[in-house]
Symmetry: C2
Subunit: 348 residues, 2 copies
């Protein structure tokens, strides 16, 4: 089922050229970060992930250097959060023009630094280059106990589907930014946090997990495909969507769930919990001051459904996800087509 | 002394924004790869490094996708070699235009794959993006025994200075390529290997080590500055320079040591060995079929000297290294000025 997704096809085409490392745990697509066995006697796996900001910068979606630094760090740590890892730190691989742009470098560094501080972790290395074209790539490394590994695999029928916190602000940010309604958004509205603390709890309780960096629906859809079952979403959007995302959608007469369907997410976690572990999980979450949001359940069958007054309506997530291939190139057309798909489903 | 070097100033300006990680071993500049303590009871340190190809690609120095892949992998593994690490694998962070360039992606992947195969290691993950501007960044991770850590620090007076294999081909490649003498160079002439096998031996024998990715002189100069002593080079270039580099310089009437002075190196290792360990080191090297090249010794004092008929001639390596700041932008002028400096020293 994964091979219906254009992005997956692109990745597989590259990956087929590479031999599989014997010390790598799991296959491509099966976890947000790579899980590496460091050998017998070592109690932890190494979790490592790399993520670059490309379309986000070239499209103008991210234009503030502090924000670019923040997002670069958070996007990498979010992948560690989704495998339940404790971060060891971040390596930067960056390039920008050297002439007079020292203020850019400084503000960028401060964004990275603040993000690391918020997560109680560090920049541990990097490579700086100078070139006309900006380059913002990073790698996060961490450790996860071998006994409590968390991946995208392991959801099964009757599992409860959760979201770490209300979501959808990422898409609202992108919508406003690409609509040129430039109201000094970053910092004010949208400054997402990687859910490291939550991930460290989830490694003991969740059966599968993925971050929402490409949107909530994208994460739910990937878990559905990898675990070949039906993921049924509830539709009380006022509870699932971030209040600001919910109000913005209502104000614009857009179905609120589109804030979860767009490709520009945030760093929440979508995860499943076995029903018999649910009460203990919620108790443990409550102890760290965390109130996870139940958004649905895993059922027999396939695909994504959304509950509305007519029962469970199937959603063509393949079409929605493949639409996102053009999001970086033509944001206006992407949003238009997304709204069109939403209208056709009849889900309000 | 490090703060005389423009590149170092740039890095320090960025690094000063970041808090130092308590589990990071050593300071910035002190090793080719970052050394991370994974906690008590774990016998190895994690070695991790990130390196992007920016100027090399934008200047046209690297234009063959297979070669770009090869160099991206080797440059990262070379940093692991210089700290004596066993590689666990490579993560790629790449971006290129998506339309029709699948052959590019495939050839690039094959270059990476072959490089990994040659070093008996693997691609373990990555991030693929699509954008107009190419992006080639990678991260290599490995392990090094805590008992036998190898860094740039630890050289002292009377240490013997070695080079892993004859060098200088990197600069000859760059010279020919930038002079538009395009004789289908990559693969034929210049396909440098990271010295992983050698590094794994050096972690038991060397007192300091650095790779020659920015040239041999750059590495010797950095070791000199970090260990505050004089590094005296011998001048039998026919033995130190790669035969093809030596002949090319003679043919062009350029002093052969300029092949070691330019900024475009290869992946050899420059290292120091304590005199009392030298014979056991050479014996161990011989057993793995390796013949390291003695290129000088560490003395009391400061700076780099080159032995010629007039004794030990001091070399203004600060000027040579800072000249390289313009190498990516104006290769012709860089080479001209390098030759000029060489003439002024009188070292043939």
């Amino acid at each position: 089922m994964m091979n219906q997704i254009i992005e997956t096809i692109h990745i597989d085409r590259l990956v087929k050229n590479f031999a599989k490392a014997p010390h790598k745990v799991g296959d491509t697509h099966e976890s947000d970060a790579e899980i590496i066995d460091l050998g017998k006697g070592v109690p932890n796996y190494l979790a490592v992930t790399t993520d670059a900001l490309v379309e986000e910068v070239s499209s103008g979606l991210y234009d503030d250097p502090y924000f670019i630094g923040w997002m670069l760090a958070m996007s990498n740590f979010s992948d560690l959060a989704a495998v339940g890892a404790d971060p060891l730190g971040l390596l930067l691989s960056v390039s920008y023009p050297s002439n007079g742009k020292n203020r850019f470098a400084e503000r960028f560094a401060k964004g990275v630094s603040k993000a690391c501080e918020m997560l109680e972790t560090y920049v541990i290395g990097g490579d700086t280059n100078h070139g006309e074209e900006p380059l913002f790539s990073a790698t996060a490394v961490g450790l996860v106990p071998k006994r409590s590994i968390l991946t995208r695999m392991g959801a099964s029928v009757k599992d409860r589907l959760y979201l770490s916190h209300p979501a959808g602000l990422g898409n609202v940010y992108a919508f406003l930014k690409m609509s040129r309604m430039n109201v000094r958004l970053p910092g004010m509205l949208y400054k997402p946090m990687a859910r490291i603390k939550e991930g460290k709890l989830l490694r003991y309780f969740a059966s599968s997990c993925m971050d929402t960096s490409d949107g909530v629906l994208h994460a739910v859809d990937t878990l559905m495909r990898l675990n070949t079952s039906q993921f049924a979403l509830s539709s009380d959007w006022a509870r699932i969507c971030h209040p600001m995302a919910y109000r913005m959608c209502r104000f614009k007469s857009i179905p609120p769930w589109l804030a979860l369907a767009g490709i520009h997410g945030e760093f929440e976690l979508v995860f499943t919990v076995k029903p018999q572990r649910e009460s203990r999980f919620l108790e443990a979450a409550s102890k760290i001051g965390w109130d996870p949001i139940l958004i649905g359940e895993v059922r027999q069958g396939q695909g994504i459904t959304i509950k509305n007054t007519n029962g469970n309506v199937p959603l063509d997530t393949t079409a929605i996800r493949n639409l996102s291939e053009q999001a970086g190139r033509d944001a206006q057309s992407y949003i238009r087509q997304l709204v069109q798909i939403a209208k056709e489903t009849g889900i309000a």
